[in-house]
Symmetry: C2
Subunit: 668 residues, 2 copies
């Protein structure tokens, strides 16, 4: 699944599942409801101790999560717009949402356009929120934000810009949207508090106690007195626990504070005995405190540290932690001289970026099982369509889930499946609605299927594109160019320590040669039975800001694509593992190595994903000798690895299908 | 000529022309002199209104020039270290220089190591200047800097870091090194004040009046009341004037202030009549003021603007302008509320980045003449060495200058020629000394020759590498891989607006495949009869911070390399022009275009440099069909373009040599 970084001038892609407001009565009610919500918010803004000239509502929770739970969908509630990205700004006379090109049409369908203004942030002439505020509010204005919903990295530049314009950015501790909802008798849903499970060391490869002790070692090197962990996947990783509070992301709402003497977990509800006993067995001695008490505990800690020892204590946290957490940790409201904070990329994020041997072996193993599910789906789908049966995109997606459920340690999808048939394949973040008419996968459709699974031993994310009948020459050519890009990345050697951006152009080279491109990045990091998008590394045309440089043991996606709007989409996505290469490595370029980049070390990739590419869509004459032998070797490996298991399970028809799919290609 | 961005762990390269201090008496005198200088500086630091705990002496002039004039070589004078890069920090008890891996050995040879500490800034564990100051000075310390020698972009982060550490960064208006020199009877040399020449519009393609009027248009759009131009090449470009105050850079010490009503040039000495009359003819109505009065004029302007109109005036300048200029323009010392500054990439730098048609045609023409000079040099050199004559690196370099002087509109070298024979070829910024023994170019040497010329119609920068006898298999392989990299960049198509960094990995791909790399960027911008290194675009593994995105009409170098320390160096450097590509363009990939990146537009390169690569060093079997036909087509073009002129001039032997060099290659 790709992370989108929108080009300016990107052809605008929209989702097709917009709510319909086609009845006048509904429209009037909708207008009244929207207006009531805005009016109530404005009243609350005016009644603040210092009246707010503007209130900003981002799409965010207190943990900088990529996906948010319904309780945090505040921008959606106030604006009516349900897209996954956008920031609302409400003043006494204006209400605006900044969002990107994916959502322009959807916004206009969902929001009440008599009340709301769409700010098209992909257009170069659209002002940023800062500059809009600076030119539309009068000097002396106060702008309010719930400091839980802004990271320090977001807060600081906004504060600087507003100060420059003689305005003030103020943290409003109680979320005004939550308050309005309660006032209006439509309180926000409860924050999820689902069961937490313990992931045994046979999956994690390292005990929670060991992780905590390594973090404490880093704290000693950094000379800090506490480490505050705020990202949900980082808490889950550190304690070897998993949850299900956010769809697709096996995490739970929590904070973690580590000091030399204690580990405090702030979480709602109680922990099951199995969890507690695993933590004990892994020598992670933690105390459990209510989720809502983290700020006051941080303030107390800041106070305590400021008065003990030499008074030179520091607290370490991620610059992606919220402004609220930063202020509490610095003791802003309780100390005359705030405590020193070290606010930078989190050490947990750098630790979990490099997978250990057990995690890596888990990734390899779950990719075999996941490959079986995807292979079985495609075999089934071709059979259905060849037999003239009707299969909708959603039915294909559901069938895939069935096949995944057959696999051991499967815990659920790692994101919402993207089953784009025909023109829908060109909608990069497509998600078909279960309501209304369904798109049937037709015999002459290209079908792009991007999906992934959460397994106890790892996370998968795979896209394969298959034509249900006979591809056109244009489709074959584009399919082959995307494949050449994927091979150029997959087979690349590069110096250890370079950032992921240096690989991006390899994925585009073959497309660029004929004037084609794709409007998303080439690769993202992947968590181990954690978030399918994991920082801080990635492959895009610009460096990821906190990319520490590529190292063996990282997992990345390798997913070039091509999208012809209104006709078809192509994406080939593998997950790959970064491996160290020497002359003896099992890698097609290992034997000819003559250097190791002056001692920096040679890195390359091992492809984890094991599902063949459709040979009917490959123009063999466009491949170089190297590319042809690379793809044939890959298909042979898929058959070797997966075929045995199909045989063991007696899935002979699937095996026969796979054998045909993996038979070597030859040039005419 | 390449711009170096050093890798960590870079093999340390050093220059071989270090001064020798082999006599004890000289050493003692040298020690005493170094000590006296430091002692005098420390006394001056202590006697400032607020005593300075540290004084920072960068390698810089007041215009952020890449090369500096002797009058500005203050770090060299205080430290004894003559390298081109480094920053000195002097405290009451310590004296340190931060410099990069090129200069570690040279520093130890040149500086008095009993007084000075070398801070190896290429090593990951070396603290930055900020963090060294923060941990080595006591809270409350005052650090002094001549604000002319720090840009605002350098000043702000240092100030932030020191403030965090409860220290203060203070601007010291009078340069303390200049003061010490004067005190010690060794005053700094005079600031150069050489003749300024007017470059007619037949070369510049746009009158100074037109440029000023376009800048004024931008000032209206930006709503600013004045534009301050501080970079020397930007002043020269705007006024169509050239100078020779800095070696190799045809610029003159000056500042330019443009307001809606006036253009003020701050410059030493008087202007020749020819210059004045050209400016008049080009409708550039300027007043000339003394160079040293710029600060007081800016302060007066700030004062005036703060009291007129609505009081909302802004001044526009480059964030690379000095802190001194920023403070004066804001009226820091004369106004209660400083004036608003717009401090960002300079509009002149963005204007001159895209060459106009006359400039582009000039670039094409001067590259033909420059190619003739380089071709004649190589022909002559092979003849000499084949005949057993002795030719030193410097003699080859001098001979090349002779050939360039034969060419019309030649104004001088564009940088110090790098003539690296054998192991010297691996020293990336090699510059042989005229003193002491000279390296003779041997029959079994690889010879890397990086040189360039300033012509009235353009600037050249070319590197060719030739073996004087028979290259080894290793040399041929590396030579061919570097060439494949150059072709992959030179033949690339890419979307308009991408930043130069997306091309960098193409240049390295073939080297990376076998574990080789080079420790410098791939391309830099080039001025039009201006600086051979020109911002703000370039091709390196990280984006240039102010790169506005590539556009047709830019000039870049394309210069991958490979360096085997102690043995040989290879670099192939062309200058290329960015061109728009459509299906009808003269470009090897034009005919097969099927898209234009969704309307963004397709860009590619036209290679300007016209000198063949040595076929004996190319392993034809390592080239793809495309590469082979590309290089053969290039050689045919060189012969077509240059051969005619050699014939016209009756240089028949040179022509015959060129014909052999450009004859097509075939596979075995």
């Amino acid at each position: 699944m790709c992370r989108i970084f929108l080009f300016l001038f990107l052809i605008i892609l929209t989702e097709s599942n917009a709510r319909s407001h086609d009845k006048t009565a509904v429209k009037i009610n909708f207008h009244e409801m929207s207006l009531q919500r805005l009016t109530a918010l404005r009243a609350l803004m005016a009644s603040q101790p210092t009246a707010l000239a503007a209130y900003i509502i981002p799409t965010a929770d207190a943990h900088n999560s990529e996906y948010i739970a319904p309780v945090d969908a505040r921008r959606e509630w106030i604006s009516g717009f349900t897209g996954s990205a956008g920031t609302a700004v409400v003043t006494s006379s204006a209400a605006l949402v900044w969002t990107d090109g994916r959502y322009y049409t959807q916004f206009q369908q969902e929001a009440d356009m008599s009340l709301w203004t769409l700010m098209k942030q992909s257009l170069p002439d659209t002002p940023t929120i800062e500059s809009w505020l600076a030119s539309n509010l009068t000097a002396g204005s106060v702008v309010g934000v719930d400091p839980h919903t802004f990271t320090r990295d977001q807060w600081t530049p906004l504060q600087t810009a507003l100060t420059k314009a003689s305005m003030q950015l103020t943290p409003v501790q109680t979320n005004l949207i939550d308050e309005v909802r309660t006032q209006m008798g439509d309180p926000p849903p409860k924050r999820p508090n689902n069961d937490i499970i313990a992931l045994p060391v046979q999956y994690t490869g390292k005990s929670a106690g060991q992780k905590i002790s390594e973090l404490r070692q880093k704290m000693v090197e950094k000379k800090v007195s506490a480490l505050v962990i705020t990202a949900l996947d980082e808490v889950a990783y550190t304690l070897n626990l998993r949850g299900s509070d956010i769809e697709y992301n096996p995490v739970f709402f929590s904070y973690l504070i580590i000091t030399p003497a204690a580990v405090q977990l702030f979480v709602n509800g109680s922990m099951a005995d199995a969890v507690t006993s695993q933590l004990r067995a892994e020598l992670a001695h933690i105390s459990v405190l209510p989720y809502t008490q983290v700020l006051q505990h941080l303030q107390a800690l800041a106070k305590e540290l400021s008065t003990t020892g030499d008074g030179k204590h520091s607290i370490w946290l991620s610059s992606d932690a919220s402004e609220a957490i930063h202020r509490a940790a610095a003791g802003v409201d309780v100390l005359k001289t705030p405590l020193n904070l070290i606010s930078e990329v989190s050490p947990v994020s750098l630790m979990k970026l490099v997978k250990n041997d057990v995690e890596l072996e888990g990734f390899r193993q779950c990719h075999i099982r996941d490959g079986i599910a995807v292979i079985r789906l495609f075999k089934w789908l071709h059979d259905q369509i060849d037999a003239g049966a009707t299969v909708t995109e959603i039915q294909a997606s559901d069938k895939l889930l069935e096949f995944r459920k057959d696999e051991s340690d499967f815990m659920g999808p790692s994101f919402s499946t993207i089953p784009g048939a025909g023109p829908n394949g060109a909608i990069i973040h497509y998600s078909p609605s279960r309501d209304g008419p369904q798109k049937i996968i037709e015999k002459n459709d290209m079908f792009l299927l991007d999906s992934g699974g959460q397994y106890k031993d790892g996370t998968t994310d795979i896209t394969r594109t298959r034509h249900m009948g006979k591809p056109t020459a244009e489709q074959k050519s584009a399919f082959t160019r995307v494949l050449k890009g994927q091979i150029m990345v997959g087979s690349a050697l590069f110096p250890q320590g370079v950032k992921g951006n240096v690989l991006d152009s390899f994925a585009r080279h073959s497309l660029w040669e004929v004037g084609l491109d794709y409007a998303h990045g080439t690769g993202h990091g992947v968590g181990h039975f954690l978030n399918v998008h994991e920082g801080p590394s990635g492959v895009s045309w610009r460096p990821y800001p906190h990319d520490p440089g590529l190292k063996p043991g990282q997992i990345l996606s390798n997913e070039p694509g091509f999208y012809k709007v209104g006709e078809f989409g192509i994406r080939h996505e593998d997950l790959v593992e970064i491996i160290k290469i020497t002359k003896d490595s099992k890698h097609p370029k290992a034997a000819t190595l003559v250097g190791d980049y002056d001692g920096r070390g040679v890195l390359g990739f091992n492809t984890l994903t094991l599902v063949p590419h459709q040979k009917e869509c490959i123009d063999v004459n466009m491949l170089t000798d190297f590319e042809l032998s690379y793809i044939n070797a890959y298909h042979a490996r898929v058959l070797d690895t997966v075929g045995v298991i199909l045989q063991q399970r007696g899935l002979n028809q699937d095996l026969q299908w796979l054998q045909r799919e993996c038979a070597p290609m030859r040039r005419d």
